[in-house]
Symmetry: C2
Subunit: 456 residues, 2 copies
């Protein structure tokens, strides 16, 4: 059995803490020995359940560095670009078959990367494989036992079992799917024994490949990756699950939380104030301040205040549902990112009167890491080093640099930078035309190779 964790999320529902590369699953808000994120929590639960050897994370390119930074060197299946879950699961399945040697009858279980659940959820994943075999279904789903007639979720309607009593509590045939009903419909669904659809799907490799073939879509990893736009931008539920004929669902009765809005998410933030500043006379209020300037909250009730390099949110908790719609027009470039090599934070971003952009960043390059050997065509960079020691490869020479050194990188100049035994910190001033992030050509070399290339 192989597990595929889908790492989705455009990051607008938890703006401004989340952004395109730092979706909610990566936010370190859970207390413990160290503050940890949802994805770290899930990975620990998978480790405890003995699954990590067979687990793959399907994620966008923008998230890959963040995953490696938080989980270490775990296998990531990289989506060429965002194309909803049907395309992503197809890519992942073909990857398992073509690149990991999965057999055609290998069982794949797909689940979200960030379920907020207890350990029994993961133990139950093994039941899915067994039930797939026992029931000879095309697919077995996991459904969450509802706790209230919520109108936020999709429901799975089940057939009343005619089999034995013991079987009835474990697996049901699926009758139909109902997407986000109103409350009275939801009440009827509950009394009818319906379950919440939590996005956990179990199927065999050959089943999905046959679906792709029948749809005239590519079935090998390379062709799927290179023709990703051939896939409809639709959900796996819509394209596969709802069309399957022999499909069953098994109930999960443990804890399950949808942490998708600030209202619910803030319940898991155990500190009432995180960061520089203070809350005075506030009730049921959470403040998270990631900026270097103080934040003072006075006399607030049931409010969420979040300040990050991406923006500032001040919201009544009862009004956080529609945040996605509200903030979509204000989404700028990400102002903070964790990368494979460290982090950067945008300090300033402005347009000059000649139309060019000036971007000022604080970059922290972790000990022993390096920025890739790269060049730009439409921008220059000025680095002022202020902490740590490192080396710059540029202009046919490799030289040691440290606090006080100023390095100017002109357009078309190949350059790389590495940190030695401690974190290297610098201020970077970029000047150039609008699409600054895409204006990059890289050589994928390690530091020794970069030095050899530079010095040759």
């Amino acid at each position: 059995m192989k597990l595929v964790l889908l790492s989705g999320g455009s990051g607008t529902r938890l703006w401004p803490m989340s952004n395109d590369s730092r979706s909610k699953q990566f936010l370190k808000v859970f207390p413990g020995v160290q503050m940890h994120s949802m994805v770290q929590r899930v990975w620990q639960q998978l480790t405890d359940a003995g699954f990590t050897e067979d687990t793959y994370i399907c994620a966008s390119k923008a998230q890959k560095d963040m995953i490696v930074s938080q989980l270490g060197d775990v296998p990531v299946i990289e989506e060429p670009f965002r194309r909803d879950t049907f395309a992503a699961i197809s890519l992942a399945t073909a990857y398992l078959r073509d690149c990991q040697g999965a057999a055609l009858d290998e069982v794949v279980v797909v689940l979200p990367v960030d379920p907020y659940v207890d350990q029994t959820y993961f133990e139950k994943l093994r039941d899915l494989e067994r039930l797939l075999h026992e029931t000879s279904s095309e697919m077995v789903l996991m459904g969450v036992q509802p706790t209230e007639p919520s109108s936020k979720f999709g429901y799975i309607q089940v057939e009343k079992n005619t089999g034995s009593q013991s079987m009835s509590s474990e697996v049901f045939s699926v009758r139909s799917f109902v997407e986000k009903p109103n409350t009275s419909q939801a009440k009827a669904l509950l009394s009818d024994g319906a379950l919440w659809n939590c996005g956990v799907f179990c199927f065999r490799v050959d089943y999905l490949l046959s679906v792709l073939e029948a749809a005239g879509l590519p079935t090998s990893y390379g062709t799927i990756r290179d023709n990703f736009e051939a896939f409809p931008k639709r959900s796996f539920d819509y394209e596969v699950v709802e069309k399957a004929k022999e499909i069953r669902v098994t109930p999960y009765t443990g804890a399950w939380q949808d942490i998708g809005t600030w209202n619910t998410f803030s319940e898991y933030i155990t500190e009432s104030f995180i960061g520089l500043g203070q809350a005075v006379n506030c009730e049921e209020t959470q403040v998270v301040n990631e900026l270097g300037i103080p934040l003072v909250a006075v006399g607030l009730k049931q409010t969420v205040v979040v300040a990050t390099p991406d923006g500032i949110l001040v919201s009544d908790k009862a009004h956080t549902e529609n945040l996605k719609t509200i903030v979509s027009e204000f989404i700028q470039r990400p102002m903070y990112e964790e990368r494979r090599w460290g982090t950067y934070r945008v300090l300033d971003y402005q347009t000059v009167n000649d139309g060019s952009i000036v971007l000022t960043k604080c970059i922290e390059l972790h000990a022993g890491k390096n920025l890739s050997y790269q060049r730009h065509f439409h921008r220059s960079e000025v680095w002022t080093i202020f902490q740590g020691q490192g080396r710059v490869a540029m202009d046919g020479q490799v030289r040691r640099i440290g606090p006080g050194d100023v390095i100017t990188v002109q357009p078309v100049q190949w350059h790389a930078l590495c940190a030695e035994n401690e974190t290297l910190k610098l201020i970077e001033v970029q000047r150039g035309s609008v699409l600054v992030e895409e204006d990059i050509e890289r050589m994928y070399l390690d530091w020794q190779e970069i030095q050899n290339h530079c010095l040759r």
Copy 2:
């Protein structure tokens, strides 16, 4: 008659919009042809009343550049450091006598730099001089006709007049002063005809000099300035007004507002949202966002949200009274200042592991202006120019600079920078020891003299 405007304010009551150099009187929140500040509003009223030829502003060094930037080349009497109003008014009076040739019987009227009043207030200032002569008093005050039994103000208790009816409504003998009474005391004061003390004092030069002499304090401008710490750190009310024997007060019955807290100040902000971002479903809420990142406010009621380079305030309007106490522990160095030559904004401020400080600023140098010829002993500066053309005087040469130029200034190097025909913009990275702002040695030269000095 000479007018002295006292420009006080440490700027904590309207934090984070105000700071040490940008007190509330300089905040441009009043609409008009251009947004204007309280001090600009008052200066216009003084101009309309024909007073500006005889008006002097007594201010701290930190405020001087801001005053010149907002009012042009007005006379500023510079306090060596903050020492409350007794010291400030003594310095200003000695300045008028010694540096402006004021006669000993010249009448001085002292008033705050930022009364929010109508034009009749300024017309009434002439009455003060006349009443000083007519009543042969040591001092005549202006008192505001109270509109409510407020416990926020000081009260002036008056003697019931025994003179003619016409006289009685114009001037009263002062019986005593009551500082911030409780509400029931305030009610009694109101029915007794007491007035609010609004900090307007009228006296002759020789009267104040005799008070100083009797107290064994210096009386000449130079000695006061050089011995400023000899003055007790007390108010003019306490040291002079309350000790005077022949003192009268004349009522001002026009509009008068104390705009000292966000609760009252926000009433004068006519836009509900200023800056980048949006307010959704908010009621009686004002948002001011001076940062370059978006701010989204959702579902707030009677709240003030203010985000500036100095910090972020989110406060229920009913709770803004004690802000001064709350924020005092978070006051950092000013993060935004208007100077004689332009503005700067601190983008980042961090301590390095070797104890030094790195400060990243965005500097805007106005057309035709220059940074003074200066040097530092404990810091280096790296300038990356990104807009405009200018000239740098350094190392015995003057050279033209423009976008893309990077200038490194080492400790002990004399340097100056001027902008040519448009605003020059640059990112500055300062590195040095803790007291970076005080680490400066200046030559007070104009640009031509700087060039000559540099090239000689």
